[in-house]
Amino acid sequence: MANARTHRVLPGFGVSLGFTLAYLSLIVLIPLAAVFIRTASLSFEAFWTIVTSPRVLASYRLSFGASLLAAAINTVFGFMLAWSLVRYSFPGKRIVDALVDLPFALPTAVAGIALTALYARNGWLGQYLEPLGVKVAFTPVGVLVALIFIGLPFVVRTVQPVLDDLDTELEEAAASLGARRWQTMCRVVLPTLLPALLTGFALAFARAVGEYGSVIFIAGNLPMVSEITPLIIITKLEQYDYVGATAVAAVMLVVSFALLLVINGLQSWTDRRAAKVS
C-alpha cells in the first residue's frame, strides 16, 4: 500500500485511466461486443448453417490456405532479407531498409491496383508469365501475391533486431570448437532465431487472414474459387444480410483472438530467449 501511495505522487492517475477506459470501451469494446451479441441471437443450427455453407467454406480454404503459404514464403525470404540487412554491406542498403516498411505505409487499395497492373495480361510481369501458362491476376495465385506483399515487413522487422543483437561470440565459439559454418547456422543461429521467426510468421499470417483492400483488385473474386472471407462479409452486407455477415465476422474474430494469444505467447518466448542469449 505504501508502495502504491509513493507511486501516486504523480498527478493525473484518475483522469488518464478513466479517459482511457471510457474511450477504449466506446470505440473498441462495445462495438466488438455487438458482433457476438448479435450472433448470440441466432440459434446454433442457423449459425452453423451460415458459417459452413459451401461458399463460405471455400472462402476459408482460400483465406487460410493462401495466408499460410504467404506467411511461409515471407518467413524464408524475409529471413534472408533481414540477414542481408544485418550481416552484409551493399550499396543502397539504407534505402532498402527504409522501403521494407512500404506495405505498412502504402494504402492497401494502392497496393492492390499496382499489383494487378503488374500481373495483368499486358503488365510488366504478366506479359512474360501468361505465355508460360502462369496466370496470376484474377486467380488464387493473385491472392497469394497480394498477401506476400502485405506480410513481408512483419517477418523482417521481427527477425532483424534479434539478429542484430546476436553476439558474435556464439558463432566464434562454435567455430573454434570445430563446427563448420553450416553446422553453426543450423545448431546455433537458427535455434536462437526460432522464436522470432515463428512470431514473424504468426504476425504475417494474422494480418493476411483479415486483409481486404490489396486482395480484392487482383483476386477476380469468383465465388468458390477466388473469394476471400472478408469479401463474403462485404457481399452479405451489400445484400442486407446483416445476420449472415455478423455470423461470419464472429468466426473470423474468434480466429483473430486465438492468433493474438498465440502471438503474445511467442513474443514473450522471443523476449526470454533474447534475454538468455545476451
Binding site: 508502495n3 502504491a4 507511486h7 505522487v9 498527478p11 493525473g12 492517475f13 488518464s16 485511466l17 479517459f19 482511457t20 477506459l21 474511450y23 477504449l24 470505440i27 473498441v28 469494446l29 462495438p31 466488438l32 455487438a34 525470404f77 534472408m80 540477414w83 542481408s84 540487412l85 544485418v86 552484409y88 554491406s89 531498409d97 522501403l99 516498411d101 512500404l102 505498412f104 505505409a105 502504402l106 494504402p107 492497401t108 487499395a109 494502392v110 497496393a111 491496383i113 499496382a114 499489383l115 503488374l118 510488366w124 506476400i148 506483399f149 533486431p161 543483437d165 558474435t168 566464434e172 559454418r181 494474422a206 483479415g210 483492400g213 483488385f217 462479409i233 446483416y242 492468433l259 493474438l260
Partner: protein, 299 residues
C-alpha cells in the same frame, strides 16, 4: 513494431562490419552473393516494382491527364474528405495515446497487461469487421438505428461513421509507440520536477513532452498514414456517394472499376507519395531518437 524499429536502427548504427571482419561470422563470398541476390530480387519483385508501377501508370498518358484527374471536382472532394477525416481521427487518438501511456507507465494497477493487450486489439481485427461493428451499432437495423433515424442523425453511410471506423482502425498507433518508451524512462524525472515545485502541467510540458516528442511524432505519422489510406473499414460505412462520402482510396477504387486507369493511378500516386513521405519522416525520426543514446554510449 516500435521496439523492433528502434532496435532495427541499431543495425545501421553497429553496421555489418563487426560481422564481416571476423572469420567465424563471415559468410563465404558465394553464399553472400547468393543470399544477397535472392533477397534483393525478392525486394525488387514485391516492393520496388509495385511502387514504381504506381507512378509509371499514373503518367502513362502524360501530365495533362494526370493533372486533370487530380483537379476534377470529385477528386478534390475526395481529397478534402480524406484530410477532414484525418484531422478529426488523429488528434482523438493522440490524446488517447498520451493518456493511456501516462496511466499505464506512471502508475501501478491491476489488469495493466490486459489493458495493453486490449489497446492492441484493433490491429488484429480485419478492416471489414472494423467497419461492420459500427453498422451493427449505428446502422438502420443496429442498436441505436431507430433512435438515430427518429432524430434525423445519419452516422452510417455518412461522414461520422467513416470517422468512427478510422478512429477504430488507427486506435493503437500512438499509444503503442509511447508505452515502451515511457516504461523505459520510468518516473524519476517527473517526480523530481514535482519535488522541485513544478505544477502538473509544467512537469508534463517541460519534462515528459521533451522526452517523448520523437516517439509521439512517429506515432502520429503512422496514425495519419493509416487514417488517410484506410480502405476496407471506411468502405463498409461509406455511402459511396461521389463528391460526398468518397475518400481518396475509395475514389481510386471507383475510377479503377470504371476502367479510368490513368486517373485511378494519378490519385493513387498522391497516396503513394504520402507513404514515401511517411517513410522518410520515420527514418529521420528513428535517426534523431537514436542520437542521444549514441552520445550516452560513447564516454
Amino acid at each position: 513494431m516500435s521496439a523492433a524499429a528502434t532496435k532495427a536502427l541499431g543495425s545501421a548504427r553497429n553496421g555489418s562490419a563487426r560481422f564481416e571482419t571476423k572469420a567465424a561470422t563471415r559468410d563465404p563470398p558465394w553464399i553472400k552473393f547468393a543470399v544477397l541476390g535472392v533477397s534483393l530480387a525478392f525486394f525488387v519483385l514485391f516492393l520496388l516494382m509495385p511502387l514504381t508501377a504506381v507512378f509509371v501508370e499514373a503518367f502513362r498518358r502524360g501530365w495533362g491527364v494526370y493533372l486533370a484527374a487530380l483537379v476534377e471536382p470529385d477528386a478534390l472532394s475526395a481529397i478534402q474528405l480524406t484530410l477532414l477525416i484525418a484531422v478529426l481521427a488523429v488528434p482523438l487518438n493522440l490524446v488517447f495515446g498520451v493518456a493511456a501511456a501516462w496511466a499505464i507507465t506512471k502508475f501501478d494497477f491491476r489488469g495493466k497487461q490486459l489493458l495493453i493487450s486490449l489497446i492492441d486489439l484493433p490491429f488484429s481485427v480485419s478492416p471489414v469487421i472494423s467497419g461492420l461493428v459500427f453498422v451493427l451499432v449505428f446502422g438502420a437495423q443496429g442498436w441505436l438505428g431507430p433512435w438515430l433515424s427518429e432524430h434525423g442523425i445519419k452516422i452510417i453511410f455518412a461522414v461520422p461513421g467513416m470517422v468512427l471506423a478510422t478512429v477504430f482502425v488507427t486506435f493503437p498507433f500512438v499509444a503503442r509507440e509511447l508505452i515502451p518508451l515511457m516504461q523505459a524512462q520510468g518516473r524519476d524525472e517527473e517526480e523530481a520536477a514535482l519535488v522541485l515545485g513544478a505544477s502538473g502541467w509544467q512537469m508534463f510540458r517541460t519534462v515528459t513532452l521533451p522526452n517523448i516528442k520523437w516517439a509521439l511524432l512517429y506515432g502520429v505519422i503512422l496514425c495519419n498514414a493509416r487514417a488517410m489510406g484506410e480502405f476496407g473499414a471506411v468502405s463498409v460505412v461509406s455511402g459511396h456517394i461521389r463528391g460526398q462520402t468518397n475518400t481518396m482510396p475509395l475514389h481510386v477504387e471507383i475510377l479503377y472499376n470504371e476502367y479510368q486507369f490513368a486517373a485511378a493511378f494519378a490519385v493513387a500516386s498522391l497516396l503513394a507519395m504520402l507513404a514515401l513521405v511517411t517513410l522518410v519522416v520515420k527514418t529521420y525520426v528513428e535517426w534523431r531518437s537514436a542520437e542521444p543514446s549514441r552520445e550516452g554510449e560513447t564516454p
